[in-house]
């Protein structure tokens, strides 16, 4: 009996590695700590009422961002472990299987559980405010999307301590990811973690498309819409076309593993290449899903901090849409070497190179926006400027990779690793950090202290080049990706050491950001944003107080110009004030516990499917169904009104006048 329990425990819990025991202990301690603090300060009710059941897009946005930063930490620790292992030859910090698990979880977490939620957080914070709306189109669905993402991410992370992590790479190519070669539960965690959060992403895509189409303030025509909102729209259009492909692909892989199917197996007619095509039909557009909103942020930040209108607004919008469409015609550049033939390769090589054209247009627009502008070097602007030279490198090496014959040399080498990190860190992460700094006062009502932010900036930036430039050379010297260790005779030691130093510099940069936030909270009073418009913004979100009241706009703005709030400030300076309409009762959605509860049931069902335990997945699925039915029956009284008097009182309190 005891032996049986022991055996079960050792397959269920991951054992044998001191690092994992350390993680177990720290997870347990963190949980106990959280429960203790919440109980001690009697905060359970507060947590439930204000956060777990909220449908307010601003709070949902903050929760997304918090979760994303947590995941950045986890993915970052993975990255540092890998770089430590590769710092010099023959390091035995991680044995090869563990190394495989770490690069897999690092890649998956960084893209799906860090970049995506950080992006959705910024969507939630900024889009309704930029278009003068009181909420997103479907607030309930929005909360559900968040909780699905969160539960998916937690399920994925659970694999680290229970059952074992996936180790077939961040895209889980079969046949390696098939039952035959990955018999453990790691791949199942991968499939269900992504599947559950993916449903949420798809719903977010639909939600923001409807929000942007239908909820713009009166007068805001398409061509008066802020660029960031445009970028969100483009990104969501890609989401609704790309994510169903991912859903199907993962479902088919799961059917292979769980139901004995033969979609991608080596025998019984399965076709692994089918998977590779499908996953990249989602995977390549995915890269543009995350980078286009970053382009939107750069456009906003660069024009605000140059005190100029964005140069070439229209060409910017067209360029973003061009990229969105083209992104669906390049997927095969990820497997030029897998024997598709010369004509297919040529098609995908050319379509890939064509993307450089709209991208180039955008870079010139940003440069012309800064040209002769009155530039102020606040942190958001610094990140935006730092992006430009870096993205030139990423773009240039990208075009090199798109040359099909040359790719036979670069494929799966460190050159590629350096390229995609340039694009993902320099393009995506820098952009979201710029956005985070930019909208921070709107979220929390205070600006972050600049000095630690500048330290963070320099550590991140210098570390970034120190880390990734050597990797281009290493790739050309023959070092391949996903390599867990190498010998002295390769001659790769010096550059690898430099690269590792760079990674740690970025880690220090991250610590400075944590410090910056702590200092910001400590000096909250001094840093308070009383104007609602600390940067001299152009768009509507800066016309309301910081942080925005729960109903956003006391009266819905009437938009007249492209940078409407900027134009309005100009007019006010000239003494022209427009008449304010009377404040009326405001219609708001009620909080709901269903999104949270339903996602917990999804988690339970996912966990059951991971282990193939019907005592979990059947109740989980039933719970999901019951939640859906409840929602359908109770959806008739999901709203309430804030009386006009209360709105007036709130406005008077935050603005100091009515």
């Amino acid at each position: 009996m005891l032996d049986k329990i022991k055996e079960f425990a050792s397959t269920f819990f991951v054992t044998g590695d001191p690092m994992i025991y350390g993680a177990d202990v720290s997870i347990a301690l963190a949980m106990i700590g959280i429960v203790f603090v919440l109980t001690y300060f009697k905060k359970w009710g507060w947590l439930w009422k204000n956060w777990l059941t909220t449908v307010d897009h601003k709070k949902v946005g903050i929760m997304y961002i918090l979760a994303a930063i947590l995941m950045l930490f986890r993915g970052g620790v993975d990255a540092l472990l890998m770089r430590l292992q590769l710092a010099t030859p023959d390091v035995t910090l991680l044995h090869p299987e563990h190394y495989n698990q770490i690069f897999t979880t690092h890649g998956t977490i960084m893209i799906l559980f860090m970049a995506m939620p950080l992006m959705f957080g910024l969507f939630n914070i900024a889009v309704p405010l930029q278009i003068g709306a009181r909420d997103v189109a479907f607030p309930f669905l929005n909360a559900l999307s968040f909780w699905l993402f969160f539960m998916g991410a937690m399920l994925f992370n659970l694999s680290f301590v229970i059952g074992g992590s996936p180790d077939a790479g961040w895209l889980s190519y079969p046949p390696l990811s098939e039952l035959q070669f990955s018999p453990g539960v790691g791949q199942n965690f991968y499939i269900w973690g992504i599947q559950i959060s993916g449903i949420g992403s798809l719903a977010t895509g639909i939600n923001f498309i409807v929000t942007i189409i239908k909820m713009r303030a009166p007068g805001m025509t398409w061509m008066k819409m802020p660029v960031f909102t445009w970028s969100v729209f483009s990104s969501c259009v890609i989401i609704i076309f790309a994510f169903p492909i991912l859903t199907v692909t993962l479902a088919l892989l799961f059917l292979d593993r769980f139901g004995g199917g033969h979609f991608f197996t080596l025998d019984f007619g399965g076709n692994p290449m089918m998977y590779i095509n499908l996953i990249w039909m989602w995977g390549h557009p995915e890269v543009y899903i995350v980078v286009i909103p970053a382009f939107g942020i750069y456009s906003e930040v660069i024009s605000v901090f140059s005190k100029k209108k964005l140069f070439g607004y229209k060409s910017m919008v067209y360029a973003m849409f061009m990229i969105a469409i083209l992104s669906f015609f390049t997927w095969a550049h990820h497997f030029f070497t897998m024997g598709s033939g010369a004509d297919v390769n040529a098609f995908f090589a050319i379509s890939t190179m064509v993307i450089a054209i709209p991208t180039g247009v955008k870079v010139f627009n940003w440069l012309f926006t800064m040209y002769r502008g009155k530039i102020t070097f606040k942190t958001p602007m610094m990140w935006a400027i730092a992006f430009i030279p870096n993205f030139l490198i990423a773009g240039l090496t990208g075009v090199m990779l798109s040359v099909a014959p040359a790719d036979f040399q670069f494929h799966n080498s460190y050159f590629l690793v350096a390229h995609f990190h340039s694009a993902l860190i320099g393009g995506v992460v820098f952009g979201y950090l710029a956005g985070l700094y930019y909208w921070w006062p709107k979220m929390f009502g205070f600006t972050l202290p600049e000095t630690p932010g500048k330290w963070a900036f320099w550590f991140w930036n210098i570390g970034f080049y120190v880390c990734f430039i050597p990797q281009y050379s290493l790739g050309l010297m023959g070092m391949t990706r996903r390599l867990s260790t190498y010998g002295w005779d390769t001659g790769w030691q010096p550059l690898n050491l430099v690269s590792t130093v760079g990674a740690f510099l970025m880690g220090i940069g991250f610590l400075f950001q944590v410090l910056q936030i702590l200092l910001g909270i400590k000096n909250f009073r001094k840093l308070k944003d009383t104007t609602g418009d600390p940067w001299g913004g152009h768009t509507l979100e800066w016309s309301i107080p910081s942080p925005a009241p729960e109903y956003n706009f006391a009266t819905i703005p009437q938009v007249e110009e492209r940078d409407d709030w900027w134009a309005e400030k100009d007019k006010r300076a000239k003494g022209i004030f427009r008449k304010q309409p009377p404040i009326e009762a405001i219609h708001m959605p009620k909080n709901s516990a269903i999104p949270f509860i339903m996602s917990v049931f999804f988690f339970i069902a996912g966990f059951g499917f991971v282990f193939g335990w019907s005592i979990f997945y059947i109740p989980g699925l039933i719970g999901v169904a019951i939640c859906m039915i409840c929602r359908s029956f109770f959806s008739y009284d999901g709203d309430y009104y804030i009386p006009a008097d209360e709105v007036k009182r709130t406005e008077a309190a935050i603005r100091g006048s009515v």
Binding site: F138, G260, G261, G269, Q580, E584
Partner: protein
């Protein structure tokens, strides 16, 4: 900033948007994502349709009589769901419920025949794991069947809501969305019939 004059007709909903209109647009976009989902499954099926790994192919397996009955049932149910919406637009609750009941019965008949067909196939030894072709077949057709089943659950739930709430803008919106969904499944079935069955037996 420029503030809107209060010229909206419904004074309380100032700045608020017609929720039914939002939901309808959202539902259309959801259907677009469902089109992509089915397209992906179709693509997989087309790629794998000849990968029978020495096992039986479509020509040997498909029972066209059953398929034609299924088609008839589903097309008719799509028509009756249209009649339900017509009755609703005329304000006739009774007509609406009755036509929904007819639609649900036809839909159930469709599912019944499909399940029977699947059971027959498995009996003949053609199951999900026999070959890539059959994995793709069961998944594609099964996904459609699952959609129809979910539609049935939705339809029954909606009938209860209609009884309880009567014809309100919300319930009307739900009926319109359901009917749209039902027509969509019909269209998918036409493709299934063509690509899977007709091209399979040819």
């Amino acid at each position: 900033m420029a503030q809107a004059a209060a010229h909206h007709s419904h004074d309380h909903d100032h700045g608020h948007h017609d929720p039914q209109e939002l939901k309808m647009l959202g539902f259309w976009i959801f259907l677009v994502t469902d089109v992509i989902l089915f397209s992906t499954l179709f693509a997989t099926f087309v790629v794998l349709r000849n990968s029978t790994a020495g096992g039986p192919g479509g020509a040997e397996l498909f029972n066209m009589t059953g398929v034609i009955i299924e088609t008839f049932l589903l097309l008719t149910s799509s028509f009756t769901s249209g009649l339900a919406v017509l009755a609703m637009n005329k304000g006739s609750m009774k007509g609406l419920i009755n036509w929904l009941i007819v639609t649900a019965i036809l839909g159930l008949g469709f599912i019944g025949f499909e399940v029977y067909e699947f059971v027959e196939l498995v009996h003949e030894g053609a199951n999900f794991g026999t070959s890539a072709f059959l994995s793709a077949f069961f998944t594609l057709v099964g996904t459609h069947g699952l959609h129809v089943s979910l539609g049935l659950v939705w339809m029954i739930g909606l009938m209860f809501q209609l009884k309880k709430r009567g014809l309100t803008p919300e319930t009307k919106g739900k009926v319109s969305a359901l009917s749209l969904y039902w027509h969509f499944l019909d269209a998918v079935w036409i493709f299934l019939l063509t690509v899977v069955y007709l091209m399979g037996v040819m």
